[in-house]
Amino acid sequence: MALLEVHGITKRFGGLVAVNSLDVSVDTGHISALIGPNGAGKTTAFNVIAGFYQPTEGKVVFDGMDITNMRPDQVCKLGLTRTFQVVRPFRGITVLDNVMIGAYNRTNNDKIAREKAYEVLKFMKMEKLANQIASGLPIAGRKRLEIARALATEPKMILLDEAMAGLRPTETDEIIEVVRDISKQGIGILLVEHVMKVVMSLAENVLVIHHGVKIAEGVPDEVVQNKLVIEAYLGEVTTDAAN
């Protein structure tokens, strides 16, 4: 059984079907990507999986547990956490405190939480920034902080919502390495990403959704050749235009 199994989740907002009977499965230590044009329902799917929304239909099973109706903090305790597309650092407090808040997920002990936080900051190459107020970080730093906090919760799996959007190419490459290292530790990763370079170089399995429906799934190289996928991104390809 896979670590994360999403069975036919549907999320409706009034008349709008944001996600339509979506199936996803991610294994321990594997990287999957969820891609699709703007408004395809990727972030909504994340919100359902991580417990921020209740699905209209379907269920989410994590590590053998039905987490469909659990709150985000309960889901996090079980080992599934997420980052946000628009980074949300706790602005008024230090980077260290930000990461410690994640670390407190597994301990009540201040010393253990602090050690864990330093360990994660070191892994993210941020230990020099520990005492800086989080609002002072540049965007790349905030994205790193977002991942650091998630890691400090000691997850079995992380949902990364556009962790690389808005970064320069060199910064993107660094985060790609970080994500790969995280995966090597046996942590499952599901990422939503617009930067195709990231998807191509990281993901072992790619799901493409469009208007809330899964239109393709497979290894990256196959998926980008898929006619439906190309149409979803570029509009219908007529023979004229192709010529």
């Binding site: 991580a50 417990g51 921020f52 709150r71 985000p72 903090d73 309960q74 996090c76 305790k77 956490t81 997420r82 980052t83 946000f84 949300r88 650092p89 706790f90 602005r91 008024g92 407090i93 230090t94 260290l96 405190d97 410690m100 808040i101 994640g102 407190y104 997920n105 009540n108 201040d110 939480a113 602090r114 330093y118 520990a130 005492n131 906090r149 998630a150 400090a152 919760t153």
Partner: protein, 357 residues
């Protein structure tokens, strides 16, 4: 600020007592704030040596009480970021609990204070339950607390058992420690200083703990906090229970000191601003030193303005006081403790430079 590395370097041998003291005070800003607070408390404890006038002593006692109530609000509004505007309802509940228990049942106010804390915390639990059950946040939460205040005022005005519209006056018997009734003002000062001491300590311990960090996370971003495993409902409830219980105890002492309580006086937004909100805002909301520093400015200033203007221009004191608050909000967004923090950072650099040489 909690830098491990600077802490390690602090473990090296200090040179002298003064140096050791300086090092302790400058380990980090939180510790510095605690040291400054205790220094201020010590000075306040010495005021009876120089202040002879009961009028001025009364202002000092209320200043100290305001600091304590300010701390209780700071934990909810400053740490956990909850817009608990009408915090005074908990003070009022505490005041009524202590006076009713004393007047009607002869219960010692010392136990009355504890009962006040419990009663106020129960009200806090009700507020927490309803606001969380119906998902009231930010502005709606604020409005809910104000509406609760208005409703409670109407209720207490009609409730004869607690004196109705007339309110309740303390049945003054012979002074005595067990009755918390004293001829001189000094005992009141020391009781209020004791409350502030405990309040400051609680505030510091919360700030440093997991609970404090979780409060900050909720204040800064609830959704992000939830994603990191923070049970936001539970910790918001904790914040409310702690803040309301502390305010209730303060209310109990308040009624023993002013000796009467009536609905229009305690269920009142103007008093709420002066008693609860002005201090922490002037001093720096969310900081450890804010409520105390703010109260030191706020209460004497409010009294001075009232004293000067009530004779010549009756009613104009609130205009002056309000204008002062507006200026403080506009020009001191981080409060007085923000100014001190800047000075601290500069001084710290100096002290550590000196040690390296």
């Amino acid at each position: 600020m909690n830098n491990e590395m600077t802490k390690k370097s602090d473990a090296q041998m200090p040179k002298s007592a003064l140096h050791r003291w300086l090092r302790f005070a400058f380990v980090d800003w939180e510790q510095t704030q605690l040291v400054i607070s205790m220094f201020i408390l010590a000075l306040l404890a010495l005021t009876p040596l120089v202040v002879r006038s009961p009028y001025y002593m009364g202002i000092i006692i209320l200043t100290v009480l305001y600091a304590y109530i300010g701390i209780s609000w700071n934990i909810v509004a400053g740490f956990a970021g909850q817009l608990l505007i009408a915090h005074i309802i908990f003070v009022a509940f505490g005041a009524y609990t202590t006076i009713v228990l004393y007047n009607n049942f002869g219960v010692s106010p010392w136990f009355g204070l504890i009962a006040s804390g419990i009663m106020a915390a129960l009200l806090g639990a009700v507020v927490a339950f309803i606001t969380l059950r119906y998902g009231l946040k930010a502005d709606y939460f604020a409005l809910f607390t104000i509406a609760t205040m208005v409703a409670l005022k109407a209720l207490f005005l009609k409730w004869e058992f607690v004196g109705g519209a007339v309110g309740m006056g303390l049945r003054i018997h012979e002074p005595g420690f067990a009755k918390m009734i004293f001829q001189n003002k000094e005992p009141y000062l020391y009781i209020s200083l004791g409350l502030v001491f405990l309040g400051l300590l609680a505030q510091y311990l919360i700030y440093r703990s997991k609970m404090g960090k979780y409060f900050f996370a909720i204040r800064e971003d609830e959704a992000a906090a939830a994603a990191l495993g923070v049970n936001t409902s539970l910790y918001k409830t904790y914040a409310l229970l702690i803040g309301s219980a502390m305010a209730g105890i303060g209310g109990g002492f308040y009624v023993m000191y002013v000796t009467f309580v009536e609905p229009p006086q305690v269920f009142d937004l103007a008093l709420n601003v002066e008693l609860v909100m002005a201090g922490p805002i002037i001093g720096g909301l969310g900081s450890l030193l804010g409520p105390l520093l703010g109260a030191l400015v706020n209460k004497p200033l409010a009294e001075l303005i009232r004293g000067f203007l009530s004779v010549t221009r009756s009613g104009s004191s609130l205009i002056v006081y309000g204008s002062f608050l507006i200026l403080a909000i506009l020009f001191l967004p981080r409060g007085l403790s923000g100014l001190l923090h800047d000075a601290y950072l500069k001084l710290r650099v100096l002290i550590y430079k000196e040690e390296k040489e």
